[in-house]
């Protein structure tokens, strides 16, 4: 889905999200967080990629060309910009690919070597291979049923990739289980790793403290940070999984 939103585009960073009012009246009540999937700076377009899950996303999916959308954003911290010429591994599970495409395009444009590892249930869920390669990224895919690429998961791809070559930075988005494994593989090899988390959200701007995730403070104590405003991207080592 492409939306004209020059104001958002001009400020958008990879890993940030939009908080979208779905439905005309009170149902659904709360906004829905959706990552910025890609942007087109020249045309002032922001792209979304989302899975229809419930009332909010199915309303969103039924928008017609020309409809207006009420979106807050860009929100959140976004991924740390990789240093130029560094080598980057992006690990995507399912719809977790959404924000990583923006990051891949951004980093590749910055001169980084970007390899994207995508795990999906089957071929139908494998999205955007072409777009990523166009942007200059290398892509490896795995499907659970083996219908495309490796039969296995994004974690299998990551294990393989790390054996082959290593990386300066790993960024991941996907199911929590995948993030946990990514974090531990990265830690084993001491590679800086960033993960994008999800939590139910109300305000989206850090006011309500509804979207917290448990983190380890520097002194080892445990505290809660907002996924919406302190995240959604966290250093993997900081998260109390």
């Amino acid at each position: 889905m492409a939306i004209s939103a020059p104001g958002i585009v001009s400020r958008a960073k990879p890993g940030q999200f939009l908080h979208i009012k779905c439905g005309e009246a009170l149902a659904p009540f709360l906004r829905r967080p959706v990552s910025i999937h890609r942007i087109d700076r020249e045309q002032g377009l922001v792209f979304l990629l989302f899975q229809v899950k419930g009332a909010g996303t199915s309303w969103l999916a039924s928008r017609q060309p020309g409809d207006a959308l009420d979106m807050l954003g860009p929100l959140g911290n976004g991924f740390r910009t990789p240093e130029t010429n560094s080598s980057l591994l992006l690990v995507a599970g399912g719809i977790g690919i959404a924000p990583l495409v923006f990051l891949a395009e951004h980093a590749a444009g910055n001169g980084s070597r970007v390899k994207v590892l995508i795990g999906a249930r089957n071929q139908d869920h494998l999205l955007l291979l072409d777009k990523l390669e166009e942007a200059g990224a290398t892509v490896r895919a795995a499907t659970e049923d083996g219908s495309f690429g490796l039969q296995g998961t994004a974690i299998d791809l990551l294990t393989q990739a790390l054996q082959e070559e290593g990386a300066d930075m790993i960024c991941a988005c996907g199911p929590r289980g995948m993030l946990v494994k990514t974090a531990s593989l990265a830690e084993e090899r001491q590679i800086p790793c960033y993960v994008s988390l999800e939590e139910y959200m109300a305000c989206g701007v850090g006011a309500c403290r509804g979207c917290v995730t448990k983190v380890l403070a520097g002194d080892g104590s445990i505290t809660y940070l907002n996924v919406c405003s302190d995240g959604p991207v966290f250093a993997a080592g900081e998260v109390a999984w």
């Binding site: 009012k21 009170l26 149902a27 659904p28 009540f29 709360l30 906004r31 009420d70 807050l72 939590e199 139910y200 959200m201 109300a202 305000c203 989206g204 701007v205 850090g206 006011a207 309500c208 403290r209 509804g210 979207c211 917290v212 995730t213 448990k214 445990i222 505290t223 809660y224 405003s229």
Partner: protein
């Protein structure tokens, strides 16, 4: 001529009767990029406790039909950090700042009240005796008239600030609690806090909230809130700040007709940041349209035949 929107609640002068509901607007700064906060009648902080509170395990938020559950658990940086880091920024809005305080014991409320009295730029206190999301204190104080009275008396004695006591709707007869805190010296009453509720994931057969139960708010609770505000306004003479499900100016006016002198907006901020400004404008439009010169004339103007 433009109608007069100003109200005075317990000695706090506000340029209009609209403020945020505690806990839905953080400490003010979070919404600064999205709206002109200085247009509000007053700013109410998230509950502040003596020591920092980490709050409840996630998930803390769940959407329900016409509303939401939350189980934040009063997460806040505690008194010291509030005074050092939050209060100075709040003052920059040039608004009456109402600090919401919460404690596990009467003594904690007293210490908080005394500290706020010393702090510069606190216009008044809102005493939260109605949080359903903490194990000790919170709602326990608001559920029983004698403990509600004890907290109110102690806070009243500990400071000379206006004391607004925030009541829980989870009681058999809210007028009993309202009268108890009024007699104990409350300057005003605010209500409603959230209704206790829970949500279950039937596929996983588990509660959805990390804390199991949470507080229900939003338009789903508006009928309950209006009823309780109406009842309390008939039972006490001190001013009342009404809240619970206010989404627009019409809702706000309904609370004032039921007897509230001012209103607070909670969950609606999440749905539409800036909604409080639209509510202020909408109240003004209503007064113009109905040729009512002062907003105070709406207070309790419900006609019952």
């Amino acid at each position: 001529m433009r109608p007069d929107l100003a109200v005075e609640i317990a000695g706090i002068s506000m340029k209009n009767p609209v403020m945020d509901a505690s806990g839905t607007f953080g400490f003010g700064t979070e919404y600064r990029p999205l709206m002109d906060i200085s247009r509000l009648g007053a700013l109410v902080t998230k509950s502040v406790t003596l020591e920092p509170v980490h709050g409840n395990p996630p998930p803390r938020i769940w959407e329900t039909a016409g509303g939401m559950l939350n189980s934040i658990g009063l997460q806040n940086p505690g008194l010291k950090s509030f005074l050092a880091n939050k209060l100075p920024l709040l003052q920059s809005f040039n608004l009456p700042v109402i600090v919401n305080i919460a404690g596990k014991k009467v003594e904690e409320y007293v210490q908080l009240a005394a500290a706020m009295e010393q702090a510069p730029g606190v216009a008044g206190l809102e005493v939260n005796i109605s949080c359903p999301n903490v194990k000790e204190g919170g709602i326990a104080f608001g559920a029983d008239p004698s403990s509600a009275e004890a907290v109110t008396k102690a806070v009243r004695a500990a400071c000379s600030l206006p004391v607004i006591v925030k009541l829980s709707p989870n009681v058999t007869d809210i007028t009993v609690i309202a009268r108890a805190v009024a007699e104990a010296g409350a300057s005003a009453i605010s209500l409603i806090n959230t209704l206790t509720g829970m949500a279950i994931d039937h596929e996983k057969r588990r509660p959805i909230l990390g804390n199991v139960s949470g507080g229900l708010s939003g338009p789903a609770v508006k009928p309950v809130a209006l009823y309780q505000v109406w009842r309390v306004c008939q039972a006490v003479r001190i001013p009342v700040i009404g809240m619970g499900g206010i989404m627009n100016a019409g809702d706000a006016i309904q609370f004032m007709l039921a007897g509230a002198s001012a209103v607070a907006v909670g969950a609606a901020n999440f749905v539409q940041p800036g909604v409080m400004l639209e509510i202020i404008d909408g109240i003004e439009d209503y007064l113009v349209r109905h040729r009512i010169p002062r907003v105070g004339q709406l207070v309790g103007a419900l006609e019952i035949s």
